[in-house]
């Protein structure tokens, strides 16, 4: 018996027509999102895909047939057979006039406004209106500089009252810290009574602000948006691995903003993560060092190679410390060396911060790549020993040579004091702190924003980072330093590019089999990126 196939479409999709184009979208989608799937970006201020719908700006009005009045497309759910017009005379005029209303009291101080260049209001003005003001009455003046908390400054005049920031605090950070007060054109944004904007996700309000009303104290007045370049990367602040954009210029990062990823961080990131870029310019190890003095790469590699070769007669006297803060490729390269040497392997990292964790994004594990190191060690069959054993071995003198990746080797004070008595302490690190200060040989490594690499977050997702700028001084990727060091010790590791390390790595780690190396992303000039927020 053959069953007759039912011609009805699956029940979870809806067919509708937008501007004469037929489109099929998921049931429950709103008209604005449906139009965006066709590349028709209906103007909107208060709508944000990650937030609840307020429909208070009315900037997304469209005409829907059989509806007597124009409808806000963000609030209208698609219906079967719906016919939507977004470019007809009535709705175009309505949106244009609403934009004019929005601009009535806007101060138009674009020259000193940080949002200029990536401002939605600017963009929509040029898209829709582009006309001189018709209002002859003086503008309503409000407070220009309102301190909302430790991170954000508010300009009430620029605010267009879209309430996105209030919804971010309520729905993402789960803390009601911002509120509207007063009425009509005297309505202002401000802190909720008795509160200030101090939640750990406070800077997301700056990202969602469609105008320059909310500005970050950290970035305020430093750079214009159009001067910056964007490189996609992944936050190295904790194990969550939020997807971010590095906004950089002149070979330094100026701000980090979240990049949408529905599976990891949606549209958000925490304030701690945003400030991690400051560390890229502090205490950097810029040149190779031998016994604390600057040296050339060749000399430093030779010095390290000679010392380690002498120690290799007794494999147990050499220990290798992998890093939970460094990326997969760097750790895999050093783990391969450890495998060749049959050396003892430890994993170092920052101490966990349990009071940091919440169920939103922040994780107690402040190491970006704990999952990655664990997977690599398991994949190569290396037995990772606890760091307490290293402390004992340092005490007894069983370990004479130590190769450390990263600068986060947290040991007890006595054990740290014994580090400078080692025959060879080779540290491959981006910063001159911790073990790098007492290293026999220090090799400067690329930090996270300078690496073409992958890291693995707490979900086990292998995420690609792109280099925004080169490392300072003579810094080089840590895997490259490992390859040179291995060659000096007579071990052949034949990688010439991070992609090759990655290829060997995914073959060696069963959990990552089939993962592909994403194409290199070139920095994108933000002047071509359109509005943000």
């Amino acid at each position: 018996m053959s069953e007759t196939p039912t011609p009805a479409p699956p029940p979870d999709t809806v067919n509708l027509t937008i501007d004469g184009q037929a489109v099929t979208v998921k049931k429950g989608t709103n008209v604005l999102e449906a139009a965006r799937t066709l590349g028709n970006d209906i103007s909107a201020f208060c709508y944000h895909p990650g937030l609840s719908i307020a429909a208070c700006c009315r900037q997304c009005l469209v005409a829907i047939e059989k509806n007597p009045k124009l409808q806000p497309s963000c609030q209208t759910t698609v219906g079967e057979g719906m016919v939507v017009h977004t470019k007809d005379k009535a709705s175009t005029l309505a949106r244009k006039q609403l934009l004019e209303f929005t601009l009535v009291n806007h101060p138009i101080d674009c020259p000193i406004c940080d949002k200029a260049g990536e401002c939605t209001l600017q963009k929509l003005y040029f898209d829709h209106d582009n006309a001189a003001s018709r209002v002859d009455t003086p503008k309503v003046h409000k407070e220009k500089v309102v301190d909302l908390g430790p991170t954000v400054v508010l300009d009430q005049e620029r605010c267009i009252l879209c309430t996105r920031c209030i919804r971010v605090c309520d729905e993402v950070a789960h803390s009601h810290q911002l509120d509207m007060s007063h009425r009509g054109d005297h309505e202002v944004l401000g802190c909720a009574p008795g509160a200030q904007l101090d939640n750990p996700y406070s800077l997301n309000v700056v990202d969602v602000c469609p105008v320059g009303a909310l500005t970050a104290k950290d970035f305020r007045f430093t750079m214009r948006a159009w001067e910056l370049e964007m490189t996609p990367s992944v936050c190295n602040g904790c194990a969550t691995g939020c997807n971010i954009e590095i906004h950089h210029k002149n070979e330094r990062a100026w701000r980090l903003v979240p990049r949408a990823n529905a599976e990891v961080n949606k549209y958000w990131m925490c304030d701690d993560g945003r400030f991690t870029y400051h560390d890229l310019r502090t205490e950097r190890l810029a040149v190779p060092t031998v016994n604390g003095l600057p040296a050339t790469w060749d000399r430093a590699i030779k010095a390290a190679g000679d010392k380690l070769t002498a120690l290799r007669k007794d494999p147990q006297s050499i220990a290798i410390v992998l890093s939970a803060t460094m990326n997969n490729e760097d750790n895999f390269a050093l783990a391969k060396l450890a495998q060749a040497w049959k050396a003892v392997v430890y994993v170092a990292g920052r101490a966990p911060q349990p009071n940091r964790a919440d169920d939103i994004l922040r994780d107690a594990d402040v190491n970006a790549n704990t999952a990655g190191v664990t997977a690599i060690a398991a994949g190569l069959g290396l037995a990772v020993r606890p760091l307490s054993e290293l402390e004992t071995a340092l005490g007894t003198g069983a370990v004479r040579g130590l190769v450390v990746l990263g600068d986060e080797l947290t040991l007890s004070a006595t054990a740290t004091g014994r580090l400078d008595q080692l025959d060879a302490l080779v540290v491959i690190a981006a910063h001159e702190r911790g073990p790098a200060k007492v290293a026999t040989v220090g090799l400067p490594a690329s930090a996270w924003a300078e690496s073409a690499a992958t890291i693995t977050n707490r979900q086990g997702k292998v995420q690609r980072m792109h280099p925004a700028f080169p490392p300072p001084g003579q810094g080089a990727p840590a895997w490259e330093a490992v390859v040179k060091l291995a060659a000096a010790c007579g071990v052949k590791l034949a990688w010439t590019a991070p992609r090759e390390v990655f290829k060997d790595m995914v073959a060696a780690v069963p959990a990552w089999n089939g993962t592909t190396w994403a194409r290199d992303a070139r920095p994108l000039a933000l002047r071509f990126a359109g509005s943000r927020g």
Binding site: P111, I112, R134, V135, D136, F221, W226
Partner: protein
């Protein structure tokens, strides 16, 4: 691709005159230099004549006053040789510059002598020579908010195009001093900083932050503007 196209010789539309065609071989007419061209006799004769004419003019005719030189309405070039010479005894005598000569930049001042610039970065953005460096800072003053902490112009890099003045929304930068960039021993000395630029500036009388709601009364009158508020786009064609 672009390079390959660039390397090819420019296409000759007319081409040389073809005298005869033998299969794939063509006989074309080419221009060979004549004997008098090779010896440059005619050109040499002409050059000596010009030099002698200049000599005679400069030696025998009275000189015009330097102040009259370069003035509009002066003697036309083809008649100048009749009574005057063009040599100016610089630096004692100087030719007046044309009205549209721009000269060095200057930064305008507010009523209290502070810099008018709000560090909006429009001039370094538009500058084709990348000669302007601005580092902004926060003033802490509610009215001004932002100003340049560093404002440097490399006058050696500047191509004197005046686009920075066009881009400035605040009448903060002007190029109307008529001064030449000074000769310097070190290239770094040619970089003007905020103080030297401000010292050249004066108090600007333009309204800071625009004219306000009654801007129409100050705006230059347009021909036949209807009284009703037409909402015509200003920038569209």
């Amino acid at each position: 691709m672009a390079h390959a196209a660039h390397d090819e010789p420019p296409a000759d539309h007319d081409g040389p005159k073809v005298l005869a065609v033998h299969g794939k071989v063509r006989t074309i007419q080419v221009a060979r230099p004549q004997a008098e061209d090779v010896t440059y006799l005619a050109a040499t004769k002409k050059g000596i004549g010009i030099t002698l004419r200049h000599f005679a003019k400069n030696f025998f005719l009275p000189r015009r006053k330097a102040a009259d030189l370069g003035k509009a309405g002066g003697a036309p070039a083809q008649q100048a040789w009749k009574n005057e010479i063009e040599t100016v005894q610089y630096p004692e005598e100087r030719v007046e510059y044309p009205e549209r000569f721009r000269g060095l930049h200057r930064l305008m001042q507010r009523d209290d002598g502070a810099v008018r610039c709000v560090a909006c970065m429009c001039c370094p953005t538009v500058c084709p020579a990348h000669c302007i460096t601005i580092i902004p800072e926060e003033t802490g003053d509610n009215g001004t908010e932002k100003r340049p902490a560093v404002f440097e112009i490399d006058e050696l890099r500047c191509v004197v195009c005046g686009l920075c003045v066009e881009a400035c929304p605040c009448d903060a930068i002007r190029m109307d001093t008529g001064e030449h960039a000074k000769p310097v021993y070190e290239r770094g000395d040619a970089i003007e900083n905020r103080e030297s630029l401000l010292a050249r500036g004066i108090r600007s009388t333009a309204a800071q932050g625009g004219l306000g709601p009654d801007w129409r009364e100050h705006a230059p009158a347009k021909a036949a503007t209807p009284a009703s508020h037409t909402h015509a786009p200003t920038k569209k064609k």
